[in-house]
Amino acid sequence: MTQVLESYQTEDGRTIGDVVLDLKNITLRFGGVEAIKNISFNIRQGEIRAIIGPNGAGKSSMLNVISGFYTPQEGEVWFNGKPRAPLRPYQVARQGIARTFQNIALFEGMSVLDNVMTGRLNHMKSGMLSQAIWKGKAEREEIENRERVEHVIDFLEIQSIRKTPVGRLPYGLKKRVELARALAAEPNLLLLDEPMAGMNVEEKEDMSRFILDVNDEFGTTIALIEHDMGVVMDLSDRVVVMDYGRKIGDGTPDEVRSNQDVIDAYLGVSND
């Protein structure tokens, strides 16, 4: 079992707090295939936690377990110190866990602004009737929501495309809009599934900067999956390494880098 440490300060002065999400002995099967084999690890308040591993290691499945898209056959998910009953994805989202997808899931027919606004749906309290009757209250709420949305849009530097239908945007920008939508929800925990997949160097640098800024400015806890080792090592506070559904390493980037199992499985055995 992972030891629960006291909260501590990172070198750059951020505070890493208690455990937010604790995964205990998770096993996930698809028929006879075990995608995740008895994995435990935790995510602490305010940290950037990376999950890495070769293709097919079960990283995305892990993220899908956290966000409720998959229900593990064994093991428990603890969120905010309590065991979490199996939830549907929309219920997980309502608990304050937002996510992005490997292959981008945006509302292609809507404008960037509308897409980001959907991130606020859970913060809209007034229902259909009260919106019709108490126009004032609904309007105030709408203004509050718009403020947050505009802030996020400014923050991610997508003001210039706010009215553009998402379907027309290039890939890199779509990824950013998806991040904006997730951020608009003011999540406690943000899950990013390969936020830099398919990007060029410049776009990757932008995205890395945004991830760091989000973590720094909003204090958002982030769990991300990424292939690019360099990026992961620079960004994250702690790294989980998976291979064939098993956890083979867990620790700071330096610890992971010097772990022989990780070097063998992920970076390949060197022959010199």
Binding site: S67, F69, R88, P89, Y90, Q91, A93, R94, A98, R99, T100, F101, A105, L106, F107, E108, G109, M110, D114, M117, T118, G119, L121, N122, M124, S126, G127, M128, Q131, R181, A182, A185
Partner: protein, 331 residues
């Protein structure tokens, strides 16, 4: 202006009005198709069922009377009261919402992720089931809908326009019921648009129509939205059922209006609300004008097939319809 031309105008006006009726039916299809990808064959039967329910409630009829009498040997048919129209409409809406919930809970929840053809087959089953339930609940006689909607030609329009085209022209003949139907349809569409653009649940509805996975990730319950959409389709069906039922009585043939909606959908596209309306209007005007201009040369009765031929032409030249999303396959 010559009288012939003015009669042509009258034909166009009447075409627009019947187009509105087609659009009403098509609208129900579009709502469900957009949000869930289900082509709801039962939409026509829903119109029949809702109209039957409305008549039944208004007349204070006991639902399932035959069944109850057969089991318990009683002879009840009526509660002996009459329900005012507005209250009856409200109750019927509740019945349609309950129906929407039941459809989602007992049918489509179990079919999530199935092939479109399976979902389509399920709606065919649903259509026959609902037809049977309608019979069982309210009986199978032809019913008249006594909502007190105005009937017959609008005399004032006729009087006001008489003589415009010389002595041969007796004024525009426009059915009052058609005018009412158009107004109701405009209100219905306007409120649907406002609902989907400016309310929380409307946003959720559009989100689900666009991308299920993304909708889930922002905390939208698909089940809830689907119940909502089926409820809206039920209300649209009720409006269509009332308008058509007031015209020709509430009877089985009401369920066949669904077939009239098919060509409208081909024209307008399956996913576009404006498409359903414009498609309905084009078909309404098209079939009336065609009958008026070409009909006499080919022996009439062109209204039976004109819409389908037009839809076929559209299928060849613009398969996605006027407003549908263009299908571009990226390679």
């Amino acid at each position: 202006m010559s009288a012939d031309f003015l009669y042509g105008v009258e034909v166009v006006i009447n075409g627009l009005m019947s187009g509105v009726m087609y659009a009403l039916v098509a609208l129900g299809f579009v709502l469900i198709f957009k949000a869930s990808g289900i082509f709801n064959f039962a939409q026509g039967v829903m119109a029949l069922f809702s109209a039957l329910t409305l008549v039944g409630i208004m007349e204070g009829q006991v639902p399932f009377a035959h069944l109850i009498n057969a089991i318990f040997g009683t002879h009840i048919h009526n509660f002996g009261w009459e329900v005012p129209a507005l209250l009856a409409i409200f109750l019927t809406v509740l019945v349609m919402v309950a129906f929407a919930w039941a459809v989602q809970k007992f049918l489509f929840r179990h079919l999530v992720g199935q092939e479109p053809i399976i979902l389509f087959m399920a709606t065919i089953g649903l259509a026959y089931f609902l037809e049977g339930i309608g019979d069982l609940m309210w009986g199978s006689e032809i019913r008249t809908l006594a909502l007190g909607l105005p009937q017959g030609g609008a005399r004032f329009i006729e009087d006001a326009t008489a003589g415009l085209g010389g002595d041969d022209f007796y004024g525009f003949f426009i059915d009052k019921l058609d005018i009412v139907a158009s107004i109701v349809a405009i209100i219905l569409v306007a409120s649907l648009v406002i609902f989907s653009q400016y309310t929380k649940h409307g946003r959720a509805m559009r989100a689900v129509a666009d991308d299920h996975q993304a909708a889930l990730s922002v905390g939208i319950s698909l089940n809830f939205v689907w119940v909502l959409v089926w409820s809206l389709a039920g209300i649209v069906a009720l409006v269509a059922g009332v308008m058509w039922g007031a015209k020709s009585g509430v009877q089985f043939s009401l369920s066949l209006i669904a077939l009239k909606a098919l060509p409208v959908l081909m024209l307008g596209g399956f996913t576009s609300i404006p498409g359903a309306i414009v498609g309905g209007l084009i078909i309404g005007v098209g079939e009336k004008l065609f009958e008026y201009l070409i009909g006499p040369m080919v022996g009439g009765a062109t209204e039976n097939w004109f819409a389908y031929v037009l839809a076929l032409l559209f299928l060849v030249f613009r398969p996605q319809g006027l407003f549908g999303e263009k299908i571009i396959e990226r390679v």
